[in-house]
């Protein structure tokens, strides 16, 4: 498959994989760890949404589905297609426990992207497309404009019934 096309498709798949799993697991609802609350309130102060800020803070402060997506692609690339993703999921779970997080979002993200990589490898998508695609996907959330990204995440959280009740 063409590399540029592969990276773009992988970026879109990764974006939906981690945003939907993280929102479903309640990342915008409350800051799972202490540091996430500080970052969420700082994003709100700059004109963003609090739920989106908590989402971004949770990504920074503990390995969530975004980290699971990247690390499972990394494992699939260098170790092998199903087993690398499973090793990555185990390590993400350890990382979650070290951060005092329940650890379901990270492992679910890692396992779901492993399944997606396994299925799409039959149509010619390589794991390295997912590695670069995931970096591009996280740039849209963490690297371009935080208030705008947080408002988008806040709207999505509201649609899925996961908006924060804190003020």
């Amino acid at each position: 498959m063409n590399e540029v096309l592969g990276i773009i498709i992988a970026a879109i798949i990764c974006w939906f994989n981690f945003v939907l799993i993280d929102t479903w697991m309640g990342l915008p609802e409350n800051p799972g760890v202490k540091g996430a609350e500080v970052i969420g309130r700082a994003v709100k102060k700059r004109g963003g949404s609090l739920a989106g800020g908590f989402f971004q803070g949770n990504i920074v402060c503990s390995p969530d589905a975004s980290a699971g997506t990247l690390l499972a692609s990394v494992g699939s690339y260098a170790i092998g297609i199903p087993e690398g993703g499973l090793i990555a999921a185990t390590l993400v779970y350890f990382g979650n426990r070290l951060c005092a997080d329940p650890g379901y979002a990270g492992t679910t993200g890692a396992l779901s992207i492993t399944l997606i990589i396994y299925l799409t490898s039959m149509v010619g998508m390589k794991p390295e497309f997912y590695i670069v695609g995931m970096v591009l996907a996280i740039i849209t959330i963490q690297g371009l404009a935080h208030p705008t990204a947080s408002r988008l995440l806040g709207k999505l959280a509201q649609k899925m019934g996961r908006h924060t009740k804190m003020t």
């Binding site: 202490k34 970052i39 994003v43 920074v60 402060c61 690390l71 993400v92 990382g95």
Partner: protein, 82 residues
């Protein structure tokens, strides 16, 4: 081509980290850099040990980000060099 894309992203994020005004904003750019560096490690060292290194690097970086973000809430004023 993969490594060039990641390199450009790392440089852009590093520049944005330098010009950011808020400490919490800086943490978000550093996190995006952490994603790109961990991807760069595994694309450079194409062995199973490279994957373990990339995974360990990323998880350890989120652990330290958690500690730093927690302390941002406690420190009131940033100490600046004049």
């Amino acid at each position: 081509m993969f490594m060039e894309i990641l390199g450009i992203i790392i440089i852009l994020m590093a520049l944005r980290t330098l010009i950011a005004q808020d400490r919490a904003e800086r943490m978000l750019y550093l996190n995006a850099m952490g994603f790109a560096i961990s991807a760069l490690i595994v694309l450079y060292i194409q062995t199973p040990f490279g994957a373990i290194m990339a995974i360990t690097y990323f998880i350890a970086s989120t652990l330290s980000s958690n500690a730093i973000a927690y302390s941002i809430g406690r420190v009131k004023k940033e100490i600046l060099v004049k």
